[in-house]
């Protein structure tokens, strides 16, 4: 089963002439200062095409965030390689923007200053910085809150601000680490719809980490299901839904797909729970 999946992943990579991200036989071990080392990711290979929306789905603690952090260059790559556009990832870069579950906004800066921050570090004229900051503040629907501090915003608004801050530096790749995981159900649904709208307007390569099967199926073109720790790619499922259809999530095809993938994840979630106990 595993080798078949790997073959398929490799084949997918070969097919995709426009492959942008190539993860090759990546493993990662956490070495806590006290306690035994933990194998978080075990021999993961994955290819992501340019402008593809890929969801990384798996139970909590399966290493999907670790994989994302390595892609972002925040954690070192020890075994295996990650290449983006043929270049090895060796640290963070503005080509790969990241959005975290708990927003990671700069709390001492206003919404505008947060969005401006990355722009100020690019050699852009001041007027252009301001124009772009406003453009992305408007895009995520935060007009009127430019001078608010993050502590004055709701969770959904904070995440809108974080997304605007990341989009403003125009990364080719958007890494999202359970970005809607801390939001209430209604806000989460709204944000999912808006993310798709943004992605349709200016397609970027998106790697979206989540443990929510419905969210993965709703958003992604491809879902990579990860196993419980140590994280391996268990299956890759291609999806081809028309996401403009407002009744999509109620359609039989969609519900069946969610069930099918949930079956794959459930066993892993149970294993993950048992592993914790």
């Amino acid at each position: 089963m595993d080798s078949a999946v790997l073959d398929r992943a490799a084949a997918g990579g070969a097919q995709a002439a426009n492959a942008q991200i190539v993860i090759d036989r990546l493993s990662h071990t956490y070495r806590p200062a006290h306690g035994r080392p933990v194998l978080a990711i075990d021999d993961v290979s994955l290819t992501v095409g340019r402008r593809e929306f890929l969801a990384l789905l798996g139970p909590s603690g399966c290493g999907k965030s670790t994989l994302l952090y390595q892609l972002g260059g925040f954690l070192p790559t020890e075994t295996g390689t990650i290449t983006v556009d043929g270049k090895k990832v060796q640290g963070p870069g503005p080509d790969r923007g990241i959005v975290f579950q708990h927003f990671a906004l700069f709390p001492w800066k206003t919404v505008r200053a947060n969005v401006m921050y990355g722009l100020q570090r690019m050699s852009l004229p001041k007027a252009e910085q301001e124009r772009r900051a406003q453009e992305f503040i408007d895009l995520v629907g935060l007009s009127g809150f430019e001078d608010s501090y993050p502590s004055q915003l709701s969770g959904g608004m904070k995440q809108r601000c974080a997304i605007a801050r990341t989009l403003a530096i125009d990364p080719e790749i958007l890494l999202m680490d359970e970005p809607f995981g801390a939001l209430d159900a209604q806000t989460r649904h709204l944000m999912q719809t808006e993310l798709l709208a943004i992605w349709n307007r200016s397609p970027k390569t998106v790697i979206f980490v989540t443990h929510d099967v419905q969210e993965a199926v709703y958003l992604a073109q491809r879902v990579a299901v990860m196993s419980a720790r140590p994280g391996r790619i268990k299956a890759i499922i291609d999806l081809d839904f028309d996401r403009r259809d407002p009744h999509l999530t109620k359609s039989k095809a969609f519900v069946d797909k969610v069930d099918e993938i949930w079956e794959l994840v459930r066993g892993e979630a149970i294993k993950a729970q048992a592993g914790k106990a």
Partner: protein, 282 residues
Amino acid sequence: MARINQGGAPMASPEHDSGQLPHFVRSFGWGVVAWLPVIILLVAWEVVARSGTVTPFMLPTLTRVFERMGSELVSGELPIAVGLTLWRALAGFVIAAVLGIALGLAMARNRFFYWFFDPIISVGFPIPKIAFLPILVLWLGFFDLSKITMIAFNTIFPVVTATIVGVYSVEKEIIWSARNLGTSERGMLWEILLPAAMPQIFTGLQVALPIALIVGVLTEMAMGGYGVGGSMQTASRMADSLGVFAGIFEIAVVGYVMVKLMAMLRRHLLRWHQESQEPTTV
């Protein structure tokens, strides 16, 4: 607003008539309630002092203490003494703040600095630094330099530890976000870590400020000369209990005002920080 004033009566608007007092009366009322324990204490003082159970030498009446402060104010003794004490305390505090934040940042960012200074700070924090006063006098004399050095020496410890804790508690996601958005290694310290750690650093400064005043008065008492501490010591030697109590009152008022100003500064500088906006006694 205009509608209320038309009536000419300084009463609350009709909407507030449901037994509610005007806002300023209510806030004044709460102010009295909050200060009641202090007022009770002062009244008790006055009553005991007047009762004849203690001699005026042991405990002069409040009225006489205030009279004394009034005459010292007019003669210029009080402004000079308070001014000198404040200058020394604030000079020591500012030196400790600058050096303490710098050392804390260096220790939080650099393994060598941490390795070198961590045990020194750990041992030095609980030592009564005032014990170094005799040697400081020998080294630096008994004027401002030794006093200010002693104040800075005492106040630097809470600033250093608060800065280290502040930098260490910056979320890694914030650091990663900054790196992702193009922050340089040097920019990380000034643009990210320092502002992010500011609430904790400011707490350290708020702890340090009263210590600066306390140590300032202590050094003045030990070394004599001008200043509130020196005046109190002189008054004590001359069996002038009124002068001692006047000094205690002056220090209490100065300390209270300094602490309150610091809290106001915090609310202003850290207006982005929610907990900093909540009322506090510090």
